[in-house]
Amino acid sequence: MRTYTNPIFEYRRPPELDGRTRHCPVVVVGAGPVGLVAAIDLAQRDIPVVVLDEDNTVSVGSRAICYAKRTLEILDRLGCGEAVVNKGVRWNVGRVFHGAELAYRFDLLPEAGHRRPAFVNLQQYHFEECLVRRAESFAQAELRWQHQVIGVAPGKDTVSLRVATQDGEYMLTCDWLIVADGARSPVRHMLGLDTEGQVFRDRFLIADIHMTSDFPAERWFWFDPPFHPNQSALLHRQADDVWRIDFQLGVDADPEEERKPERILPRLRAMLGAEAKFEIEWASVYTFACRRMRNFRHGRVLFAGDAAHLVSPFGARGANSGVQDVDNLVWKLDLVLRGLAPERLLDSYDSERVPAADENIKNSTRSTDFITPKSAVSRTFRDAVLSLAKKHGFARRLVNSGRLSVPTVLRDSPLNTPDRDPNFAAANGAMTPGAPAADAPVSGPRGDWLLDYLAPGFTLLTFGDAVPAAQSVSFTGGAVSCRTVQVGGGARTDCAVILDKTGLVAQRYDAQPGTSYLLRPDQHVCARWRTFGANAVRDAIARATGTM
């Protein structure tokens, strides 16, 4: 490639080949975006983790390029959000064309007062490099390149792994195994586990081109464009003046032929104009599936990301949902490993992330059906929606070129304490138990954004002087620590005080004096009250940690 050379990560001979044995609390299989985020989160929580990857570099080709706001917020918590955002291309606006005409334009983040944009586009190789660099900064994270898992034996108390290297095979044992080895998941196959769902037959061509252009940093999607009749096309700007172009090819396309530059170039010329100057960086022809494993927890083996569930690329729900998987999983593993929560807390990983996968599969299947209609009548309705959308607002809401990734609200989670104050539930659906915390600008001792205060453990976010100092200290010193963060109210030394300088915190959290939110370590709301009560907070923490 012209703009990027894949780094080669050094293979190291493992000490196990020289007679040392090692038992790790957690082993992660797969150093892709999901495995690396898991490793960083574990290491940041001071849990030793070994990552095994059969390869010795980051992603070959740009692959997953759209990283959603929630992913960036998770990376902020893990200390590498800034690196990704600085390297990436921010965007909020999408345009949808039908034929040669603009059908409509949408803005995914129409309001101010958020640290992160709706999306950052960044080639997966850059994204992974940021994560590798961050992971390597922790003594607790050991990345083992060219270490291939060739056997898995889950036991009652540990999981045993057989690992192959160029110097021979060795055994490794762990308490918990995170499987993040991608769509084909060799480990899933070794365990005889399968995914269920739909496979789609339409083929798509991805071409990354290097081009200097003044096209805006927006997502442009065409239905039936003049340069590619009867099919769809998608354009995204990435870092380093690299552009992603996605062409729908239909079910009869020959993948070997379509990969050839002499087939790709005329398509690009038709789209970009005869005079455009560009070079092809990377191209791939793909099909996709919307499938998932029935369960993501199998005893001590936990599946995450593409290994557990697959979606179509429309909506950027693959890597983003995988990052949410491990964001959900790691704090639970941390509490279980420290003996602060029972192992059954890990069942909630399954009961929270399986519905999340279903939500993503549902959305991405709907997008796929809209973009590639499977029958004449489906095509007719699709075209009817697109033609109405130019004039009528209602039809724009039906246009589905991809429902872009938003974090799942864990509405039915067993870890939630249901709202008791009816006025709360009625007044504000946004920050309901299960919702990820909304960001907002603040001022205080640890930075200018609310989310920076809602980590690394449980947080009691209170508005005004509702929590007596003795209580806030007792929460912090409890078995499961919960720090109090007070918005407004008087100065105090027992907890952090932040100022809601724009009023957006109170607005987004539907807050009145005395309102309190309990946030989990992954920044999801698990309980909220209009008035503070110490026992209610203790009960909610117990519920959120699986101890009651």
Partner: protein, 75 residues
């Protein structure tokens, strides 16, 4: 909650029917199919109520069965 009204509700049914057929005058079958789809979408949005729309979908589909699958026929 309102139910799907299947009692007579059009003030001049023959007038409406004539206009409906007239809307398709001069169109190819494919164009007519498109115009029908647009009409359904416009009316569905106007109605809005998901329960009424679901009742209408069911009433429309009622009595129309897909052809028997060829695999089933050979069994």
């Amino acid at each position: 909650m309102q139910a799907l009204n299947t009692e007579p509700n059009l003030p001049a049914p023959d007038d409406f029917y004539e206009e409906l057929i007239g809307m398709h005058r001069g169109l190819t079958d494919a164009q007519s199919a498109l115009v029908n789809a647009k009409l359904i979408l416009l009316l569905a949005n106007h109605i809005g109520d998901p329960a009424i729309l679901r009742a209408a979908l069911d009433a429309a589909r009622d009595g129309v069965a897909p052809p028997v699958d060829t695999i089933q026929q050979t069994e």
